[in-house]
């Protein structure tokens, strides 16, 4: 090994250690019997039991799941439409504004998105009476809005990397444009739509700041509950919850990676 590749290998090792050591430690400490989370008091699974008996956590998790399922599905529909429009229609009025509105939500600081959506909901309520209360509906709308941007980008780049000849051939053979879309385009971009849905689902489950702005009294999502607890410091039942989430997500990602690798 020369000097350059030794340097690269050590940076890689450091980088991966940096990414993974905190996660491993959370898993280890979730089996810690001691109430003081940073002092080792012997092996125990008691925090998992307490987690399952904590109704606040279960309610919050259920609400978060409902929001994530709904917003990911709507976001995938609208995001796919937007992605097709951006990839296949080179020129239409307001295209620059459209692509700007697709890119911006991804990087917009969450405090701005949250504040502006809340003010919109408050104004709408004064003008039309809707939304009468904030919670499931308003959080779902907020999550749909930023998640559809991600879906649109994924679908758009998938379409850009595919050539149009299949669609053109179908049209030349007299297929109705709508028929071509459902028979040719959609099956081709289905993997991108699935990836987009999963990303939208994860982003929704993950969001704290935007949900804090647009939720109302009594509707706490899981991240809001977690945040209210970890504000006060490290807590053992959150370690257990984090462990469950880390293991669940990791096995999902690993599995899909293995399946994808098999296929290629």
């Amino acid at each position: 090994m020369n000097r350059q590749s030794r340097f690269i290998v050590s940076v890689l090792a450091f980088g991966y250690a940096f990414l993974y050591i905190p996660l491993v430690l959370v898993i280890v400490y979730s089996f810690n019997d001691s109430r003081i989370a940073t002092v080792w008091g012997g092996f125990s699974t008691r925090w998992y039991g307490e987690l399952l008996r904590n109704e606040q956590i279960l309610d919050a998790a259920f609400l978060s799941l409902r929001i994530a399922l709904t917003s990911a599905t709507i976001a995938t529909i609208f995001g796919t439409m937007a992605g097709i429009a951006l990839a296949r229609f080179r020129r239409f009025r307001g295209r620059t504004l459209f692509s700007g509105m697709i890119v911006s939500p991804m990087v917009m600081p969450e405090v701005i998105t949250g504040l502006s959506l809340l003010l919109l909901f408050v104004t709408l309520q004064q003008l039309t009476g809707w939304p009468a209360q904030r919670g499931f509906g308003t959080i779902t709308i907020a999550h749909t809005t930023f998640a559809m941007a991600y879906v649109a980008i994924i679908v758009q780049s998938r379409l850009m990397s595919m050539d149009e000849s299949l669609e053109e051939a179908a049209m030349d053979l007299g297929g109705h444009p709508l028929r071509v879309m459902f028979d040719i385009t959609l099956p081709l971009i289905a993997p991108a739509m699935v990836a987009g849905w999963l990303l939208a689902f994860t982003l929704s489950l993950d969001d704290l700041v935007i949900a804090s702005f647009v939720s109302g009294p009594g509707s706490n999502t899981l991240p809001m509950y977690i945040f209210s607890k970890v504000k006060l410091g490290v807590s053992p039942d959150i370690n257990a919850l984090a462990t469950l989430i880390i293991l669940l997500v990791s096995s999902g990602v690993l599995l899909s990676w293995l399946v994808a690798r098999r296929r290629t």
């Binding site: 350059q4 690269i8 940076v11 890689l12 980088g15 940096f18 990414l19 996660l23 430690l25 959370v26 400490y29 003081i36 940073t38 002092v39 609208f78 937007a82 097709i84 429009a85 229609f89 239409f92 307001g94 459209f98 692509s99 509105m101 890119v103 911006s104 990087v107 917009m108 600081p109 969450e110 405090v111 701005i112 504040l115 502006s116 003010l119 919109l120 408050v122 004064q126 907020a142 809005t145 649109a152 850009m160 990397s161 444009p177 994860t202 993950d206 704290l208 700041v209 702005f213 991240p223 945040f227 970890v230 490290v234 370690n239 984090a242 989430i245 880390i246 990791s250 999902g252 690798r261």
Partner: protein
């Protein structure tokens, strides 16, 4: 007809739920706070902005946020570039494994990943315990609630956003070019700065913008890991709104932050559309 509907549905959604809200934020930033529901008037004045510009605290907070985000971006680049470079130079099987390991943390809750560092950097946390045990220090170092902790949190959370675009442009690069430069007598560093770096630049720009823009308004990381005196603009906006219930001032803070971000966001959009055309 169907083509119009295809564009119109997402377009209208974004106009209503993404663009229109900014107009409302602008309107409320010109109002005055009152007690009541909703807690603002329907008057128009520039008082909130005058206040923002006259109070030094806000100027300092904006500058500090930009500075912290810029430092975090550079740290991400310094760590992310060699990592992306290394991944792009691996064999196919290793490469896909290493990439998957970069993306994996991204799927795990952001909040929980920041939380994981609280246990590490605590006064009685893992790092201090290890150092005490090894005899490197004889009393706990203050790691939590410092700017250092905020930097760690920012780099940790945003590193994948830096590595992925960097990897995309480094992977496309032809290694023969570097070799040719070296065969023609260029030193290793000369070949890097004259060949590798210019070719990687689109990835560097995209990665830096993807880290810098959201990091400026970051709320959770400074809240959980930073000290109470280290004010950042995301926190100020949140507190003006929820603690002081001064909606107009919070809106004005958001408008000024948005103005700061217009240039980087337009840059990112330009880059994105050019990149899409290149892959086509």
């Amino acid at each position: 007809m169907w083509k119009k509907a295809l564009i119109a549905a997402p377009y209208l959604w974004l106009l209503l739920f993404f663009l229109a809200p900014f107009a409302i934020v602008l309107k409320i930033s010109l109002a005055e706070p009152v007690f009541g529901q909703p807690p603002y008037t329907h008057t128009v004045s520039l008082e909130n902005f005058a206040f923002l510009f006259s109070d030094k605290l806000y100027a300092i907070t904006y500058l500090r946020s930009v500075f912290m985000a810029a430092c975090a971006t550079l740290l991400c680049l310094a760590l992310g570039f060699p990592m992306a470079y290394g991944i792009a130079r691996c064999g196919r099987a290793t490469r896909s494994l290493l990439l998957m390991l970069i993306i994996l943390p991204f799927w795990i809750s952001f909040l929980l990943r920041v939380y994981a560092w609280m246990g590490l950097m605590n006064n009685y946390g893992t790092i201090n315990s290890l150092l005490l045990w090894a005899g490197v220090i004889d009393q706990p170092m203050q790691l939590m609630y410092t700017d250092f902790a905020v930097f760690v949190g920012l780099v940790y959370s945003y590193l994948p956003f830096m590595i992925l675009p960097l990897y995309a442009s480094l992977e496309r690069m032809d290694l023969d070019l570097v070799e040719a430069a070296q065969d023609l007598g260029a030193s290793g560093s000369r070949a890097f700065w004259d060949v590798t770096w210019p070719l990687a630049r689109p990835g560097v720009i995209a990665g830096c913008l993807l880290v810098f823009i959201p990091a400026i308004g970051e709320y959770v990381i400074p809240y959980l890991l930073g000290g109470p005196e280290s004010l950042l603009i995301g926190r100020v906006l949140f507190d003006e709104f929820f603690v002081n219930r001064d909606w107009p001032l919070a809106s004005a803070v958001a408008i000024v932050l948005l103005l700061l971000l217009v240039v980087p966001i337009v840059l990112l959009q330009r880059y994105q559309s050019r990149d899409q055309e290149n892959t086509a």
